[in-house]
Amino acid sequence: MNNPAAEAHEPMVRAVGVHKSYGHVPVLNGLTLDVAAGEVLCLLGPSGSGKSTFLRCINHLEVPDSGYITVAGELIGYREQGEFLVEAGERQIARKRAEIGMVFQQFNLFSNKTVLGNLMEAPVRVRREPKAEVEERARANLRRVGLAGLADRYPGQLSGGQQQRVAIARALTMRPKVMLFDEPTSALDPELVGEVLDVMRDLAADGMTMVVVTHEIGFAREVASRVAFLHQGQIAEIGSPASVIEHPSHERTRAFLATVR
């Protein structure tokens, strides 16, 4: 972090040998992956392939059994002590999470707070930033997702597409280094999917580093810098959208794409 030259070469997200199992069921089998700054990586794969689990490991909502992940060169959930990785305290993990934006399938807007309250809560409470400054930024982000007029509504009064755009604006108001999207359009009515993808496309064009778990093949083909296909907790295939989606080399990828299209 202190050395800008090193940071330039450092991938924004690096996962090394990440293992995770629930009981005896392995979900991630030594997943290793780099995401460069400014890159948009789409994770495809059948359900149970570990895409969402991997995404949740990046901000330590799931704790890997072994392996480690760094974001912007910093370890997530551990600190280095000699040759050991020592589990970090809750505050330290929270500080790291504040730099990683996450958008959930079910939006998870705070239903007791207005739209503006949702955006301002974390910057004001967690970062202790001045309210006026945060409010200005929050309103700018609402304009960016096209919802400037809804600042005083409660989440329950919004459509699914609007809620998800608010959720994106909420994550952006923390000025994250990376944005994680966990099937952001899977809970939406078909006619509302487009408005959310438009916002994400706009974000990608602005150079945000994004890791997106999705079933929207069209979006992946158009927006992703790279597409990874996960199978049984490992990367079966990774490369440009053209190579993975148009000319899949892995038999499992072909079978999956045939069912999705």
């Binding site: 505050r91 929270a94 996450m102 998870n108 705070f110 007791n112 967690v126």
Partner: protein
């Protein structure tokens, strides 16, 4: 059939019935004759009861009226109100704490909380009150200092624990156990995604609990808490066994001298009814206040005869 367009078509034969344009058919609400019959029966029963109350000598309403605002009764009433307020304050504060401990990922905290609830819910409240009142028999002196070492401060149990203090300890610690379970239920009723979203924004578990989850749990927690307050009002009558002069004990003291048992018990009953009625009204207002951010449809009017009539536009 086409000649009787207003009659609903029989099942399966609707094909040749002329369809009325929407809006021309009037809807007549269902009638409820049995409800009116029920009201009539209840009215007769209520009249009989009222007549008995008014005419029976044993009730002696004159005496009731005379003692309703007697000094000792009002003092007892005040004690009951104080006990309830302090007990609920302890119950809510301790309940949130124990519920948070119980749901904590820390196994030590979680098990301590489980043990507390298990113990305090298992022993009858009356026994707990007697226990605190007689603590002096078990530990004649209470001291604060180094464990197994010298005491810094020390006092006799009986001077430290007055009947009022014993009542507060007994009622309060007992209430904590029940409120803890109510808050645990409330916290579990908030979708886990709310906590995950809070954590993903960099909040610690504690901040997420107090800023995001608990405010949403309040809505669920209010109705059972309302019941608990009423339980405490009535449960506080148990303190008469440890010679604390609450509402019940104050009237008991009076009828022990003048033998007007029924009228004086009625005095207590009427005060308990007034207290619980006020508390129920308070609960209604609280529920309305906390339901706001989640309300999608306007709520039903509290006056049954106005239900079904569209409310005026909110100003």
């Amino acid at each position: 059939m086409a000649g009787k367009p207003l009659q609903a078509p029989a099942a399966g034969t609707g094909r040749d019935v002329a369809v009325q344009p929407p809006g021309e058919r009037k809807i007549r609400p269902r009638r409820h004759p049995w409800r009116w019959a029920g009201v009539a029966v209840l009215a007769i029963l209520a009249a009989m009861l009222a007549h008995s109350f008014a005419s029976d000598q044993a009730f002696d309403w004159g005496v009731v009226g005379q003692y309703m605002t007697a000094g000792p009764v009002l003092d007892g009433l005040l004690t009951t109100i104080e006990l309830t307020a302090i007990t609920m304050a302890i119950g809510i504060a301790g309940g949130v704490l124990i519920a948070a401990m119980r749901l904590s990922p820390n196994p030590v905290l979680s098990r301590v909380a489980w043990f507390y609830v298990w113990l305090l819910r298992s022993v009858p409240l009356l026994v707990q009150l007697l226990f605190w009142y007689n603590l002096g028999a078990l530990y004649p002196r209470l001291s604060f200092g180094v464990p197994f070492g010298p005491a810094l401060v020390s006092a006799g149990s009986n001077t430290l624990i007055s009947p009022f203090a014993a009542a507060i300890l007994g009622l309060g610690l007992h209430e904590v156990a029940y409120m803890a379970e109510i808050f645990r239920g409330g916290i579990l009723s908030v979708p886990h995604g709310q906590t995950e979203a809070a954590l993903s924004l960099g909040m610690t578990r504690r901040v997420a609990l107090f800023r995001i989850v608990l405010p949403q749990a309040v809505r669920v927690v209010i109705p059972p808490t309302g019941s608990e307050v009423i339980n405490v009002v009535k449960g506080s009558a148990l303190v008469s066994v440890i010679t604390l002069t609450d509402l019940l004990y104050s009237v008991q003291k009076i009828y022990a001298e003048n033998y007007l048992v029924i009228p004086l018990l009625l005095v207590a009953v009427i005060w308990y009814l007034i207290l619980t009625s006020l508390l129920s009204a308070g609960q209604y207002l609280l529920e309305r206040r906390f339901g706001r951010s989640l309300a999608r449809t306007p709520r039903a009017d509290w006056r049954p005869w106005r239900r079904g009539i569209p409310p005026r536009e909110a100003s």
